[in-house]
């Protein structure tokens, strides 16, 4: 019962951070701040949602797989936002 309530709190908090990241994506003026909002807020939201799901996992293996998902998503989103930001920096700095 407490575990379910904790899962609900964590998942709702994760969705709140996803929403905050999306608001930042829509409202921020340029690419770099949008990437900042998306990368930071969405990954934290994903971590909270997966933490909530880890509590519901049936076995340690499933819980470890969920944590591995979060680590891989962190790696992928960090790399892709770095690539997007550096490409745009190159484009705007060309004479």
């Amino acid at each position: 019962m407490i575990v379910d309530a904790l899962t609900a709190v964590l998942v709702v908090a994760g969705c709140f951070f996803f929403g905050a990241g999306t608001v930042g994506l829509i409202r921020f003026p340029d690419l770099h701040s949008r990437l900042h909002a998306i990368t930071k807020a969405d990954n934290l939201g994903l971590g909270l949602v997966l933490a909530g799901l880890v509590l519901q996992a049936g076995s340690v293996a499933v819980a470890l797989k969920l944590v591995l998902l979060w680590a891989l998503a962190l790696l992928a989103s960090a790399t892709s936002s770095h690539l997007l930001a550096s490409e745009q920096t190159e484009e705007t700095s060309d004479p």
């Binding site: 891989l72 790696l75 992928a76 960090a78 790399t79 770095h82 690539l83 550096s86």
Partner: protein, 336 residues
């Protein structure tokens, strides 16, 4: 019958799917439409999971929201310098006609599937519907998972034709390149070290997932198509970060593409000549045969989807194709 178990989540998902589809069709900017197609793929995967079809959810997530979206994004990004607006007049009419035809087809398919579902309800007769017949006879198919049993044993002829369709698509895409050779090594600027780190970390994990999906298809959702799509992701990651040998371009290209279909046809002819009949697997060999066939299918499907992606990229040289212009000028010369 539909409204029995529908929850708020199902309703929201249905509305979201239709909204995203309509937006993807009717918004003018091409890059926005492609990103909305990606979102549509993700929502479809969730819908399939909610409907209790995890195999199709995996396939939709890997192929629809993965490979196809990557292909479309690559196509859009290439023409970023050219006009990105679609012609509003012609594309609007086409969108409306396409939407109507798609709606009619979806309605007809829903009608047919509801009829099949009603026939396989537990209150039916002793024969049951096709779903019940399949789950009853899983024990003699060599695998434990009903979906894999249906795809690769009971209805393996359909899967054979699907693999043939994939091979034909790859050959068609290769033909579009004309006389240019398939680019062996990607011509890219030096790769950032972070992308290199990502590839070195992610590709071994992806290959492990490919092997796991392939083997777990016998007992739980998985199988050749899902594993092949993840293999495509790994090959494309290697390719896009500059590794030269990821997608074979020389003498291993066509054998790799054809390996799956060749193995399937070999199995079909072997069972036709030596066994009970066309594609009826003997019960004690069925499990091993299915896993072996799925391995070759995974390699072929992964290579096919990766080849379709790479063959659509811009040619490595930017000079105009000399063969075409000379043929055109010869024809005009003959006319005047």
């Amino acid at each position: 019958m539909i409204g029995d178990d529908m929850t708020l989540l199902d309703g929201l998902l249905a509305v979201g799917l239709l909204t995203v589809a309509a937006l993807a069709l009717f918004l003018p900017r091409r890059s926005t439409a492609v990103v909305l197609f990606l979102a549509f793929g993700v929502l479809m995967a969730v819908a399939w999971a909610l409907l209790g079809a995890p195999d199709i959810a995996l396939a939709e997530a890997a192929i629809g929201a993965g490979v196809t979206s990557a292909l479309l994004i690559d196509a859009v990004a290439v023409h970023r310098g050219h006009r990105t607006e679609r012609n509003p007049r012609t594309s609007r009419a086409l969108s409306v006609v396409g939407t109507l035809l798609g709606g009619v087809a979806a309605g007809a398919l829903t009608f047919v599937l509801l009829g099949l579902g009603a026939r396989s309800a537990p209150s039916g007769g002793p024969g049951g519907g096709p779903g019940d017949q399949a789950t009853d006879r899983v024990w003699e198919s060599g695998v434990d998972h009903p979906v894999t049993a249906v795809l690769l044993n009971f209805r393996s002829y359909d899967t054979l034709l699907e693999v043939a369709v994939l091979l034909v698509a790859a050959l068609a895409v290769l033909t579009f390149r004309g006389n240019e050779t398939f680019p062996a090594a990607p011509t890219l600027p030096p790769v950032p070290s972070l992308l290199d780190l990502l590839v070195r970390t992610l590709v071994p994990v992806l290959l492990l997932v490919v092997g796991w999906l392939l083997v777990s298809g016998s007992v739980q959702p998985g199988g050749a198509f899902q594993a092949g799509a993840v293999l495509t992701g790994a090959l494309l990651l290697l390719r896009l970060s500059g590794w030269p040998g990821a997608i074979p371009a020389g003498r291993w290209l066509r054998p790799g593409l054809a390996a799956g279909l060749t193995a399937f046809l070999a199995l079909a002819y072997a069972t036709a000549l030596l066994g009970d009949g066309w594609l009826s697997l003997p019960a004690d060999w069925a499990g091993a045969l299915i896993v072996a066939l799925e391995t070759l299918l995974t390699l072929s499907i992964g290579l096919t989807l990766a080849v379709i992606f790479v063959a659509n990229q811009e040619p490595t040289h930017t000079s105009p194709r000399p063969q075409r212009t000379s043929a055109l000028s010869a024809r005009t010369r003959r006319r005047t």
